[in-house]
């Protein structure tokens, strides 16, 4: 009996000591880790717009973050809410019903820094809503303006991969042509499905217009050698292709389907489907949002 008490006490002591150390380390490093995560995300967004790897974005490039919420009304109706910046530096919540009709516009009392943080953003949105309404955060997309005109869009997406979800980001130009694709998080097999993060695969999407994207398929054919040279930046450098020649090859393969990765057809399919769905849904939603902004005369910053 005495023995068991001793064992229990010493195991408890080990646990307490371990949890104290963990707690101390966590609180000490939490802030730094969050900052790094944020910086990483910003880097991804910047590089998707073509300003990554040391290229400094121009000074007149302005990014507007727009948050999408799914709101359930006190009456039980489901609405979509978009938190967007307005011209006077404040924020507004535009409510749109599922048929695409604008319902109303509510002011959101928050700063940009508060909206960037998940907890304070949810609080600000629920304060802006009438009593009894519930809001669930869905996603954040970014609108980039350069010198007063539209430069591009960056949108997040999720798709079912080989084992679990693949989180991706797509950047579009003002005509909704793909500028870049990035894989943020994935658990595909290293050496096989994980190749979806490689430039030579991701770059196959670049330049695909909405029309091409709509009928885009994955084909189990080997990637043509000249196309690979253009897609892989390292190989482009080695092959010493002139920019005109590279452009010509790109143009030649522009309407090609996506060439599947060897041994990873499922992952190739997954990313292709993810990109297609993300772009299609965004174009549809953005069109509705734009109409709602016009109708309700919201002074949106973008």
């Amino acid at each position: 009996m005495k023995d068991i008490l001793k064992i229990t006490a010493s195991l408890t002591a080990v646990c307490v000591a371990a949890s104290l150390i963990l707690g101390a380390v966590y609180t000490q490093t939490e802030h730094a880790r969050k900052e790094i995560e944020k910086a990483e995300k910003e880097e991804i967004i910047k590089s998707l717009l073509g300003f990554g790897h040391g290229h400094k974005p121009p000074a007149d490039l302005v990014m507007h973050a727009v948050q999408r919420y799914v709101i359930s009304d006190p009456s039980g109706k489901t609405l979509l809410g978009y938190v967007l910046p307005t011209k006077d530096g404040k924020f507004a919540l535009v409510e749109i019903d599922l048929q695409g009709k604008p319902v109303k516009v509510l002011p959101v009392d928050a700063t940009a820094a508060q909206l960037a943080e998940a907890a304070t953003r949810d609080l600000a949105v629920s304060k802006a809503l009438p009593q009894g309404a519930k809001a669930k955060y869905a996603e954040t997309f970014y609108i980039a303006d350069k010198g007063g005109s539209r430069f591009g869009y960056v949108l997040p997406g999720v798709t079912q991969g080989f084992k679990t979800f693949i989180e991706l980001m797509v950047s579009l130009d003002p005509e909704f042509t793909i500028m870049g694709v990035a894989v943020e998080k994935h658990e595909e097999d290293p050496g096989l499905g994980a190749e979806i993060t490689q430039d030579y695969f991701k770059n196959q999407f670049v330049g695909k217009t909405l029309d091409i994207l709509a009928g885009l398929k994955v084909v189990k054919e080997p990637l043509p050698a000249d196309y690979l040279e253009v897609l892989d930046p390292v190989k482009t450098k080695l092959a010493k292709l002139s920019p005109e020649k590279a452009k010509e090859i790109k143009q030649k393969h522009l309407k090609d389907d996506i060439y599947a990765l060897t041994g990873a057809t499922i992952s190739s399919n997954a990313l292709t489907r993810g990109v297609k769905d993300t772009v299609r849904k965004f174009v549809y939603r953005f069109d509705i949002l734009k109409k709602a902004i016009d109708q309700e005369k919201v002074q949106a910053a973008f």
Partner: protein, 206 residues
């Protein structure tokens, strides 16, 4: 030879965790599709093994033998979590590469087996060198397997294109991991048999 050097050498070849002790074969098959993966996981293991061995060696007289296993698991988990939290702050670039592997280490047989067999009986300094030796032995094994698999399966080495084609795709599939480990083990056993004339025996765990 100095005992500490002897301990490191012991971990590297005569008691190599993968090829001689046959411990932690699971990760050695799963992540060694490239040299880089092997190297990163190996580095992470070196750290966790050294820290855990030192901790257990320091507190070995206070840990009741009847609860030593849960205590060891807690100590390993503690160090894994601490490294997982501190590394991104110290070096975000390195963390980006090893993040996936660090969390895997909690379940590695090699670490707990060294705590049980060595660190719980020996003082601090030898435990440190044993942990370090076992760690770099594991690192060496992972890199060797990774190099063979990457070169034959993907035609590259550390991401650089060496061959320009893929000779044997099966090598980067899980089956290839078993082949490579099996052949290296057989080769090492053969060499030992030729040198000592005795038939080698190996342990085994997941």
């Amino acid at each position: 030879m100095n005992r500490n050097l002897q301990l490191i050498w012991n971990g590297l070849i005569p008691e190599n965790p993968i090829f001689r002790l046959a411990l932690s074969l699971c990760p050695s098959v799963a992540v060694t599709t490239s040299v880089k993966n092997g190297l990163m996981l190996g580095l992470a293991v070196v750290f966790v093994q050294v820290f855990s061995s030192c901790t257990v060696a320091l507190f070995r007289s206070y840990i009741n033998p009847r609860i030593r296993i849960p205590a060891y698991v807690l100590i390993i988990a503690l160090w894994v979590s601490v490294i997982d939290m501190i590394l991104p702050v110290v070096s975000p670039a390195v963390y980006k590469e090893v993040a996936l592997f660090v969390k895997l280490i909690v379940a590695f047989a090699i670490i707990i087996s060294r705590l049980e067999l060595f660190a719980s009986k020996e003082p601090f300094v030898p435990s440190f060198f044993d942990g370090f030796g076992m760690g770099i032995g594991f690192l060496f094994g992972l890199c060797l397997i990774g190099a063979i698999r990457e070169l034959s399966g993907a035609g590259t080495l550390y991401g650089f294109d060496v061959l320009g084609f893929r000779p044997l795709l099966v090598m980067i599939l899980p089956a290839g991991g078993f082949f490579v480990i099996g052949f290296i083990m057989a080769g090492m056993n053969y060499i030992e048999y030729k040198l000592t004339g005795k038939i080698p025996s190996a342990g085994g765990a997941h």
